[in-house]
Symmetry: C2
């Protein structure tokens, strides 16, 4: 019995050691499976405002992009790449007409945020997220993170923003 226990511990140690050397199966060493942001950073709704965006196509969305203090300082200083500790939040809403405003203007011209659709985060940690350009990506709907299959679409798209450290949003003056 004592021998079996020892064997099990030895196996566990070896598995652990191998796991720490080879970050994921199916990849060569150094090509880890991406890891994602799975908890919402606290206090993000109080962060300072970076910019807004409006997407049509299949999205019909409004975004407000907010940043923590590290992000805001980096944007204002024009610092690229963004330093570790940067967190950028994109709060998404449907893009809907405002009946209240249109009545006042006398014509359909006014659009405002409708229902919240999702919140996305980019968290800079050049060690933890080395496999995805130093950025951890997060996508939350009703507070719940998206699954890994969905999340794998973030990096290949953001990777194309080569001139701005994978970040699409520019600071609005």
């Amino acid at each position: 019995m004592r021998q079996i226990a020892f064997l099990l511990i030895a196996v566990a140690v070896v598995v652990g050691a191998v796991a720490s050397m080879v970050p994921s199966s199916g990849h060569a060493a150094g090509e880890a499976d991406p890891i994602f942001v799975t908890t919402t950073p606290p206090g993000y709704r109080d962060w300072k405002w970076i910019s807004v965006a409006h997407e049509e196509g299949n999205l019909h969305s409004f975004a407000a992009i907010l940043g923590n203090d590290v992000a805001i300082k980096a944007y204002r200083d024009g610092m690229l790449p963004f330093p570790d500790g940067t967190i950028i939040a994109a709060l998404h809403y449907s893009h809907v007409p405002s009946e209240q405003n249109n009545k006042v203007f006398g014509q359909p011209q006014s659009f405002v945020p409708g229902e919240p659709t999702n919140i996305q985060f980019m968290v800079k940690d050049s060690t933890k997220y080395a496999a995805t350009g130093g950025w951890g990506f997060g996508h939350f709907k009703d507070g719940k993170p998206a699954d890994a299959a969905f999340m794998k679409s973030c990096f290949p798209c953001h990777e194309k923003a080569t001139g701005s450290d994978l970040v699409f949003t520019h600071y609005a003056p």
Copy 2:
């Protein structure tokens, strides 16, 4: 000499008293000429985010609406009317396509803030701005306030937002 000085002081006191009773010439008492916000409140770019808006018609504009701490607390508490000390800022930009984003998406779908166009403020002071519903209005282009003729268009329009203390913007959750 002493008599002349006394007389001047007496005249000044009387003029002051009359001025405080009759707020402006050409109006009956209580119908003062509107007064406007002519200096930008300090630090507004660091305020918390309330919402966004997109206007078409003749405007083609993006707005980011920010609020000072009094404004944010009132919005979150659902407090109406807004308390004195509330300041709401609307930062306006042109609404322009993002070539960078559209390249990544492979179709024209993405709109971002272009040039800043103006910044507007609503300042709540139910005494100072009693003639315009307790709100002082400000409009700044390149840091310079608009003239009185332009500013007189603010209140008649905002006055129509009767259910929300003359404020069009709702808080985005």
